[in-house]
Symmetry: C2
Subunit: 198 residues, 2 copies
Amino acid sequence: MPPDAARRSDRSRLAILAAARDLVVEVGYPRVSIEAIARRAGVGKQTIYRWWPSKGAVVFDAVRALSEDEAGVITLPDTGDLEADLKTVLRATAVEFTDPTLSALLRALYAEIAVDPELATLYQEKVERPLTEAKLDRLRSAQRAGQFDPDADLALCLDFLYAPFTQRWLSRTGPLDDAYADALVEATLRAFAPTARG
Amino acid sequence: MPPDAARRSDRSRLAILAAARDLVVEVGYPRVSIEAIARRAGVGKQTIYRWWPSKGAVVFDAVRALSEDEAGVITLPDTGDLEADLKTVLRATAVEFTDPTLSALLRALYAEIAVDPELATLYQEKVERPLTEAKLDRLRSAQRAGQFDPDADLALCLDFLYAPFTQRWLSRTGPLDDAYADALVEATLRAFAPTARG
């Protein structure tokens, strides 16, 4: 693609993703349509269909884009200090989930996912899995560095780090602040320290 | 109340709670009405309003009733062995959440709670808090017995035990079986063992 066309195409893509996010917040996932996204983004419906097969695919790409860098890649910091890196990530996630617009977007999607198994699968594939892979990479690096139980069930570690956080956010049972982020990281590291098992 | 009237009243109460649960599964929380519950339970609307101020109050009492014994009390087993007791409770919870009818009921309520802060508060008060108190009692007893870090943040412990479980159930990312229940208990106990902190 010539540079100008590539820039235009990139601008369209970003406009579509932003429109999808805005519409979910404004009218709720069930009432969002490809047509409405196209209108809001100022592109033709066909432009959207060229890149995405369905409404759900656009919306979840829009969510995932929030965690990507400019090259479209998701990575976690790796300074060599696992505890510090995880605290950085969880504190940043806490800030994100406390943002009213993003929180409303994710809340609307969670409500749908809870009752729609197909949507749950799509969310899994588009958002959850790429994020999980990035997190697992960071834990594997810590295992290689001897900072983490080499036999730990890494999926369970991620559950420990993130599930309490998500639950607190969903049920509004307490603040998502630095102290909570740090406490989750510290307790998880105690559970999966290299020396934690007899 | 004379014994016969008390028995009748008890029967009505149980019929109302069962009707409320069935209706949420069948038509979804938003479409359940006090009238429909009364009709299904074979009682007058006034009978329901005598005991409950709102639809949400009936529905959440109906959910809580599933965790109560005959006297209306929620307690966790306390054999003196914390690990065994927690495994018993989490394995039983796994069986409950795998039951299709109960799972459908809770899923319908979670979807509403995620987007309705008032309903979230009512759920908190009617279901979550009594269950949490029973769980905290068991952990405090373990602290007194020296089986648990005396300085542990007990709310965080409960998050570790239950949030991964709830998340796995909500997003259908894996089986809720004995192995998972046991792994959650073991990792939580490692994180909050009496000797876990330097």
